[in-house]
């Protein structure tokens, strides 16, 4: 037998290519391994849409980890009407087209009974179309654009399968405004990645805080691919705000905060994108001025929140960030509770139950309004969210004031 020497020369290339592909797919599949391994024909499947690659992979991974934890919890409680719950994961890559095709795959090929996702607003709007076309329940944990609930309100018959567990932009702005008032902030700078969610939140926040006498003195959005941090940090500091609001859900929030601390060590910052809720990151940021983080829930807010944080930490070795993990966890918990209440996973049975019921989660009891938006805000009966301040030994809950 003769071996072609050219083949031998190409062998390393083939091996490297093969290993790259294998590793790529293995790392994605392994995230959902516990649930996928348990998949049986009589199991109820939840399709989870999240970016596991690309600039938002960190948030997407937390998203899937939390959803997996919620499914494990549901199964530990006996599953849903005797059936186990499993998840199938679709990597949206932070792209609308991929989110749509993955939603379609989960619904048609994986036979998911319901969808949870996606991560970015753009992706979620795309996934909504698939949910509407296939009459599949879609629970939206983190995407905040008004378009999602506007569509439900305006075309109820088509989009009535879509429910948002996370906060809408006006609700989000209202909670931030209450926090800014509490901290006696009058001037703020708003900085973030130039993605749809940030752009819309910046505008909404400006409108919501105006009656409270709070004004933006600097607003900037950088390109997520190659952020020009230096000039933004210098300009934000030069505008002399009382606080810098950092609206970035990705890795850039860390780099920006480092630059900001160098440019203006005494300037407080509020991270609303979730990334800086990671204790490991917070430990490397100078605390020469307060670093606040907005979260849906935090350890110590309630027994349910503390139990969730401890469970998450035991399972994944690090505490949750309180946003991109907590809300997906609650989305799956709400969905499972609705299935149990409806006695069926059929969409037509689940939608009315979601519309009328109250569903306990880590952040509190979820109730949906006419536009299928969970009630977040500062009013009575609303879910409040939490603001914490990083200290050297951990985080301190600073708002809303504890009863």
């Amino acid at each position: 037998m003769t071996v072609n020497p050219r083949f031998l020369l190409r062998l390393p290339l083939l091996l490297i290519g093969q290993a790259a592909l294998s590793l790529h797919f293995f790392s994605l599949v392994s995230l959902a391994a516990p649930a996928v391994a348990a998949s049986r024909p009589d199991a109820l499947k939840i399709g989870v849409l999240a970016p596991l690659s690309g600039p938002y992979a960190a948030g997407g991974t937390s998203f899937v980890q939390a959803a997996t934890l919620a499914v494990e919890q549901a199964n530990a409680e006996g599953g849903v009407f005797g059936q186990r719950v499993t998840i199938a994961v679709g990597d949206t890559q932070g792209r609308v087209d991929v989110a749509k095709s993955e939603a379609l795959r989960l619904v048609s090929r994986e036979k998911a009974s319901a969808l949870v996702g996606a991560y970015l607003s753009e992706e979620t709007v795309g996934a909504m179309e698939v949910a509407a076309a296939h009459r599949t329940v879609l629970l939206v944990p983190v995407a905040a654009t008004a378009e999602i609930t506007d569509k439900v309100r305006q075309e109820y018959k088509r989009y009535r399968y879509v429910f948002r567990v996370g906060y809408s932009l006006p609700q989000w702005a209202e909670m931030i405004a209450a926090f800014l008032s509490d901290r006696k902030v009058r001037r703020y700078a708003f900085v973030g990645a130039g993605i749809r969610w940030n752009l819309e939140l910046g505008e909404t926040l400006e409108r919501v805080v105006a009656p409270r006498g709070i004004t933006p003195v600097y607003t900037a959005f950088y390109s997520p691919g190659n952020p020009a941090f230096d000039a933004v940090a210098v300009a934000a500091a030069a505008a002399s705000p009382d606080i810098v609001i950092l609206a970035d859900p990705g890795r850039n929030s860390v780099s920006f905060l480092k630059r900001l601390r160098e440019a203006a060590p005494a300037l407080p910052a509020l991270s609303i994108g979730g990334a800086l809720g990671d204790a490991r990151l917070a430990a490397s940021i100078p605390l020469s001025a307060p670093v606040y983080v907005q979260a849906a829930a935090w350890r110590g807010v309630s027994p349910a929140a503390t139990a969730y944080v401890e469970r998450y930490e035991r399972r994944y070795g690090a505490p949750p960030v309180g946003y991109s993990d907590t809300l997906p966890y609650d989305a799956v918990t709400v969905l499972v509770a609705a299935w149990r209440k409806a006695g069926s996973a059929a969409t037509e049975a689940v939608v009315p139950v979601l519309e009328r019921g109250a569903f306990p989660g880590v952040a509190g009891a979820y109730r949906f309004d006419a536009a299928h938006q969970a009630r977040w805000g500062t009013g009575p009966g609303a879910l409040h969210g939490t603001f914490v301040r990083w200290e050297r030994g951990g985080a301190l809950i600073v708002f809303p004031p504890r009863q």
Binding site: A57, T61, S62, N226, S284
Partner: protein
Amino acid sequence: MTSPLPQVLLDGLFAGGTYALMAAGMALILGVVKVINLSHGAFFTLGAYVAYALAERGIVSPIAAAPIAAVIAFAFGVFLAKSFVNPVRNHPFALPVGTLACALLFEQAAQMAWGPHPLSIEAGAPWIGPGGLVIRRWGVIAFLSSAALLGGLKWLLSARPGLPLRLIAEDEEIAGSLGMDVEAIRYLTFGGACAMAAAAGALLSPSGAVTPTMGRAPLLLSLVVVIVAGMDSVAVIFLLSIGLGIFGNACAWFLSPQWSYVALLAAVCLLLSTRPAGIVVPAGRRD
């Protein structure tokens, strides 16, 4: 400080130092081995993770991490050159695809080892200069390291010890006929360039977040710098890197941060359209 503009320009100078640091190794590979190494950014990332791994064990010193990262990257680089780059270097399409696959392989391996979440090392307080100018520690390190590396490269290429590199860059056949071990020199050059990228990653690790994909942006910008500057003048590579850093920051300041990258690439396209072979081209090789 009365106007923030000097601060913006100073930060641009430091950002340029970062590009130059990566471009130094890239220029070496392009000039001597004559391949476009799309895994160069992965070695930058490797250096940052080495620094993070040391910081986790209580050694928060990127300067200490740099030589360790360089040694690891050198070994990987030589292995990569010998096992993959050398056999396929005459196939112009296979090589970029293959080195890109190597980069993806490393990114996935890093993601499995450390997770996709951003990690971070303490940056240390900056120095305060005249007029309240903030002098960033990592910026100074990037600037001085790139100046030293490119200065060293310039010396090497003009001195006697660098003769084999110059000769191989000019004509491999003649170098071989003179008894030089061309392949071995190519392996060592490739490994050395990878070591430079890893050292850069380690030195700059405290400046931002350490993530599996952090090497992508420096890779693109260093590639742009080397192609625009041409590989024949080390000084031009350094000056162009600094110029692009300042230009990018000035655009972010005067226009908008979102326009900074676009303006930078537009300027590069303009330069390439007027001088397609690079800013500095030896006589007789101009297009």
